[in-house]
């Protein structure tokens, strides 16, 4: 089916809520990054640029310091509200706590928690202290947590009693750098530097002066999955906020009076860039929901909180689509002005569903952990082509390229031809390295282009369309899972000889993690063993990463050098052409 473009009626754009970009081409032509710098403050006394100053103190010290910065909705129905002034005091306390514990510039503070207010205080306080914040998804199992904390040389872990007891304490001796554990809900301090956050905070001053911060100082590490090897730590710097500010203004169309809700968890890059930083940079009210997806609850939040700008994900949209109801008849969604989605390509049906059921089409956009912020987007004032990720934002140069050699590429100018999506380095939120892996970082750049690993094409009008991944990385429920990490965990089971892990299409979550397992001699492929392996994977990796399906196979397709050919496993699983099998080992 051919999807009709969704046109925007420019006559509707009047008054205060005029979209921040009306004329896309003109804005791209005239844009320069300094205009964003001018909208931000910089630290007092020319002391540099710090995320937390721009996100919190700048507003707290202004005439609108009493505005609600965060409204937190608890799983149990409770609500907590923090003004920009409250947030300033709380994050100052966190910075003082970290300083008291001897945590310095460039030390890494890891966070492992659900969406609780203390997580947000911790992130912002860490930046105030000029330390580095590294969030972990709370549905990770012990193995992904341990891997990341070891690689990131965590000195501090912020978490909760339950997560600490279950996922970290039993493995603490394997994390030699970890000195302090701060428990959000700890009632008392405990031995081995396990601290109660509330006791520490009670003793800490609400005053703090942010030390000089260079715009290029490291601020955030986001671990992201690789196709070979363990996850990579993408390092971002304080200056990334120029990009967060610009993209939330232009791609999410944030206006000063907005109530903004980003449904992503801060354990992933979207939940940090747009769930913590971007809305606060604009001084708007940021809604945070502690609970997991629940269709009715989500509609209620949109209505009761009078959300105006909503940034969500395809998995959630598709879940809402399953419900056979007319949301606008049951909920007052009249405040909602702009809806955007990210995480994986939004199918055209979902874009159009938004227009029919929410009264607003859903604007898909594209970016990844390494880019730190939105790069290509469907904009409020521009035509939407359902299924397309949109066009590059001002300040972003994107192209479709083909590698022609080890360090050469050619730009594909012809519309409609598949190639790799590449970006011209220079945008402020670009990752600056992979932690301790300079070679892996350098490999991402060819001929002065950053290669995203995503395959795409560009149409004759400059709209980009996602085609697939250039590698074996699995995209499930909007986040990336590296097959190698999953395979390594399953290989630890004594009955397992070989494992190949792929993503298979699934209508709600995009792809589902599926493992093919060959057993060692003497083990029978029973239902009981399959369940044991399923549980084994979940225990180590957690529900976010573990395979949801396991099948036994006598032989897995391998290259002559013994490498499992995931591509072939996938082709066979999906009944696709097998492609080049010349390197396949003869069985």
């Amino acid at each position: 089916m051919e999807w009709q473009p969704i046109l925007k009626d420019t006559a509707m754009f009047v008054g205060d809520l005029l979209p921040n970009i009306i004329d896309y081409e003109a804005k791209r032509a005239s844009f320069f990054w300094d205009e964003i710098a001018q909208e931000l403050d910089g630290l007092p006394h020319h002391a540099g640029l710090n995320i937390a100053h721009e996100a919190v103190d700048r507003h707290a010290n202004s005439a609108h310091g009493g505005r609600v910065a965060m409204r937190w909705l608890g799983r149990d129905g409770s609500t907590r509200e923090f003004t920009y002034q409250d947030l300033k005091a709380q994050t100052n306390r966190v910075a003082n706590v970290l300083r008291r514990l001897g945590i310095n510039r460039e030390d890494t503070v890891f966070a492992l928690s659900g969406r609780i207010p203390e997580l947000y205080f911790m992130a912002l306080g860490t930046w105030k202290n000029t330390s580095i914040f590294c969030p972990l998804f709370s549905a990770f199992g012990p193995e992904p947590i341990l891997q990341r904390m070891k690689r990131g040389q965590a000195r501090v872990l912020f978490t909760t009693e339950r997560l600490f007891r279950k996922k970290v304490a039993p493995f603490r001796d394997q994390m030699p750098h970890l000195e302090h554990v701060i428990l959000a809900d700890g009632r008392e301090h405990a031995p081995d530097n396990v601290w109660s956050m509330s006791l520490l905070m009670a003793d800490a001053s609400p005053e703090f002066e942010i030390p000089p911060t260079h715009p290029e100082d490291k601020a955030i590490i986001h671990f992201t999955s690789g196709t070979t090897g363990m996850p990579k730590g993408a390092v971002h710097v304080h200056q990334a906020i120029y990009h967060h500010y610009m993209t939330s203004k232009y791609a999410l169309d944030i206006h000063p009076e907005d109530v903004f809700w980003c449904t992503a968890d801060p354990g992933w890059v979207t939940g940090t860039s747009y769930g913590i930083i971007a809305p606060l940079l604009h001084g708007v009210t940021n809604i945070i929901d502690e609970a997991e997806f629940d269709a009715e609850r989500w509609y209620r939040i949109l209505a009761e909180q009078k959300v105006t700008v909503w940034y969500t994900a395809p998995t959630a949209v598709r879940r809402l689509m399953r419900l056979d109801l007319e949301p606008r008849q049951m909920f007052d969604l009249s405040h909602l002005r702009f809806v955007a989605s990210v995480g994986e390509p939004l199918n055209p049906e979902a874009v159009v569903w938004g227009e029919e059921k929410l009264g607003l089409p859903i604007h898909d956009n594209w970016w990844q952990t390494e880019t730190g912020g939105i790069m290509i987007a469907n904009l409020a004032a521009c035509e939407i082509r359902p299924g397309s990720m949109g066009r590059p934002l001002p300040g972003v140069e994107a192209a479709i390229v083909r590698r022609t050699g080890d360090n050469t590429l050619e730009i594909i100018e012809k519309p409609g031809v598949d190639g790799e999506l590449a970006l011209k380095p220079g945008w402020p939120s670009m990752f600056r390295t992979y932690l301790h892996e300079e070679a892996r970082y350098n490999k991402c750049f060819v001929d002065d282009w950053y290669l995203s690993g995503d395959l795409a094409m560009k149409d004759e009008d400059g709209y980009f369309w996602f085609v697939g991944r250039a590698d074996d990385i699995i995209k499930t429920a909007g986040h990336m899972v590296g097959p190698f990490e999953v395979e390594s965990a399953l290989m630890e089971h004594p009955a397992v000889a070989e494992v190949g892990v792929i993503g298979v299409p699934e209508p709600t979550i995009g792809e589902l993690v599926k493992a093919f397992v060959a057993l060692k001699p003497g083990n029978e492929p029973t239902k009981a063993l399959r369940r044991e392996l399923l549980g084994f994977g979940r225990k180590r990796l957690g529900s976010a990463v573990a395979p949801k399906e396991i099948v036994f196979k006598e032989n897995l397709p391998k290259t002559r050098s013994g490498k499992i050919m995931r591509r072939l496993l996938k082709a066979r699983e999906l009944g696709l052409p097998e492609g080049d099998t010349s390197t396949l080992e003869e069985n």
């Binding site: 549905a139 269709a295 609850r297 419900l323 699934e506 709600t508 369940r531 979940r538 529900s543 949801k548």
Partner: protein
């Protein structure tokens, strides 16, 4: 669906644990409190929970519209919900 087995509370509880064990075989149901948040305690994500409720619907014949998922947090919640709607 007609002709489904009628469950009492204990049988229903057992069925719930069986279905959950298919998703989370590692779970220790002896330590799971009947008033604890199942998803949180057993590390069941949204997708798994959806499949669990689909399985529960198939086994009991009780329709569970997605709009009601939010009410089904603990084992007791689920028992109450299903028993009240048993044919």
């Amino acid at each position: 669906m007609i002709g489904k087995q009628i469950f009492n509370r204990d049988e229903l509880k057992r069925l719930i644990f069986e279905l959950l064990a298919d998703i989370a075989p590692e779970a220790d149901f002896d330590t799971l409190g009947l008033d604890e948040d199942i998803r949180l305690d057993l590390d069941i994500d949204s997708f798994d929970f959806l499949n669990f409720l689909i399985g529960l619907n198939e086994a009991t014949g009780v329709d569970i519209p997605e709009a009601d998922y939010g009410q089904l947090v603990t084992t007791n919640d689920i028992c109450d919900y299903i028993l009240a709607r048993m044919p």
